[in-house]
Amino acid sequence: MPDTTSVKQTLIAKVNENIVVSNVSFINREISALLPFIFVALLLAEHTLLQNRQPFFQKPYFTWIIEVLVVIFAVAGIGANKFPAFWSKFLEKAPLLAAFAGFLIVWDFVTLKLALLPLPYFPSPAAVTAALINEWETLGISALYSLRLLLIGYGLGVLLGLPTGVLMGWYPRFHYWVNPILRSIGPIPATAWIPLAMVAFPSSFTASIFLLVLACWFPITVMTWSGIANVNKAYYEVARSLGASEFYLITRVALPAAMPSIFVGLFMSMGVAFVTLIVGEMLGVKAGLGWFITWAQGWAEFSKVYAALIVMSVLFSGIITLLFKVRDEVLVWQKGLIKW
């Protein structure tokens, strides 16, 4: 069978592709592995040896962390050169880690050491680190509050948008009646409803949930609907000639066929959910990372603002990564997925 061999060949080619580890660094491996150590050591020297031009009265958490990192990266660098296979992940990320340390050197230098940037708006990395550690409890609780609001709002929005989109894609009459609502209400940024929502709902919490649901509902509905409307009609014909009922066509043909599009909607919804969440917390809700930022800003404690931004970045990036993981799992059948 000639076609069997050709498929085997493509499979083998795929495997080979995965074995050849992408080589990002352009310097030789021994030096590359030691780069993080070298740069973190430079950072330590810069931070401890130069004179401060900005006041700094916090505990030296930043220095401690760098000291620990110097040791870790020294070990990692040597280890990676001895056992490159075992440390391949570190080797791959080594140039990035070094670059990040370089960034910290520049940041520390222009703030703490030269005072080139005005305070309190541009604190040094040491000040931000101190804020992150001193405020970890408030930050953690705020993150949990944000997460709760986000998950409830996003979850309800998806739960509402998915069936709306499916029905719109499947039943022309449903589309006829719902489309005008979708078209007129959908494009309004949910945050524009804040003044109304704050008076219409008993608490700022429920108001924010309403806003999040509204924000998430639109993209997920549109992408589900268009995904279902664009399914290759031949799939339905084949399925019907195999004995499929209408329910089977919707749930087992239309929905999976529309999945790639639905995931675009899920990502878009997540994006607007982040915005709506933070704006809602900044303007009404008395908890969460958005609230923390306005609160810290009120006291002109910008190091805390940056600390909150870092927490937000970790949290939101984690959520997006999780969503990508789910997508990769659900859409394994798609050729050439982009990895996050």
Binding site: V7, T10, N232, E237, R240, V253, M259, L331
Partner: protein, 276 residues
């Protein structure tokens, strides 16, 4: 040799014991509305009786209504007038009795090959009882070992085999194939023709096979229905009396071929001697 005869006996028994799969196309007309509002006569007064277990080809140039006729038999469209019946039951919509294979394999890309083949049984809610049959048909079309592959990992020929297994696992009374080998290269194509013949002999299913390849039609069929366009209609039905297994360069082959070409005004009547 004895084994061969055994197989033929088994096949014959299967056909007799089954005995279903008779198609009757009665005076079928199909009109489409063109963009300017006028009518296109896709099919005009088509009459055709197909015997149970027969291998019949619909042959003709593009636009002569082959696909239209096949879709009407499948129940995906309804005739403007006239009727189609399978075993004396009028066709009203798609049914798993009438299996379909398109030129594009249209496998569901989100399912593995095994699940694709099993879709019919799953949709009918009888997959649990018939799990082994899925494997049996995957074997039959030569796809063993590719059960957990996804469609994008298969070549065109293999995908078409999977589509064939997917239709067959439902035990259709009629298998409707619309240029199923049209997208394959010449060698894969000849390979698949023999596979289809083998499976047809094995199962005894009636096959209606659409093609615009004259040699393919003659090589495969009991009868070749030659159609002409504008309006789409049956020009002539050729009985292919050549015994199976057929040789692709049997002299009778060329005679029928030149008859069909002449009917379609692509050639003057050639004497077979020219070829010999």
């Amino acid at each position: 040799m004895a084994e061969r005869i055994d197989q033929m006996v088994i096949a014959a028994v299967k056909k007799i014991s089954d005995g279903s799969g008779a198609l009757a196309v009665n005076n079928v007309q199909k009109l489409f509305v063109d963009p300017t509002g006028g009518n296109i006569t896709a099919l005009e007064a088509v009459n055709l009786d197909i015997r149970p277990g027969e291998f019949i080809s619909l042959l003709g140039p593009s636009g002569c209504g082959k696909s239209t006729l096949l879709r009407l038999i499948a129940g995906l469209d309804t005739p403007t007038s006239g009727s189609i019946a399978l075993d004396n039951e009028v066709v009203a919509g798609p049914h798993y009795f009438r299996g379909l294979v398109f030129q594009d394999p249209t496998l569901f890309p989100w399912l593995t090959i095994r699940k694709n083949v099993a879709v019919g049984l799953d949709a009918r809610g009888i997959l649990k009882e018939k799990e082994e049959e899925v494997d049996e048909y995957i074997q039959l079309v030569g796809l063993a070992g590719f059960e957990s592959s996804y469609p994008y990992q298969l070549s065109g020929g293999m995908a078409q085999r999977a589509a064939l297994a997917r239709a067959l696992v439902n035990h259709p009374k009629v298998l409707l194939m619309d240029e199923p080998l049209g997208a394959l290269d010449a060698f894969t194509r000849m390979n698949m023709q023999d596979e289809i013949l083998r499976i047809w002999k094995d199962r005894g299913t009636t096959i209606v096979f659409v093609t615009h390849d004259i040699d393919e039609a003659i090589y495969l069929s009991d009868r070749v229905v030659v159609m002409t366009p504008r309006p789409g209609k049956i020009a002539k039905v050729f009985d292919i009396g050549i015994e199976r297994p057929r040789s692709r360069n049997y002299p009778d082959f060329f005679e029928i071929r030149s008859d069909i070409l002449e009917l379609l005004h692509f050639a003057e009547k050639n004497k077979p001697e020219y070829y010999l």
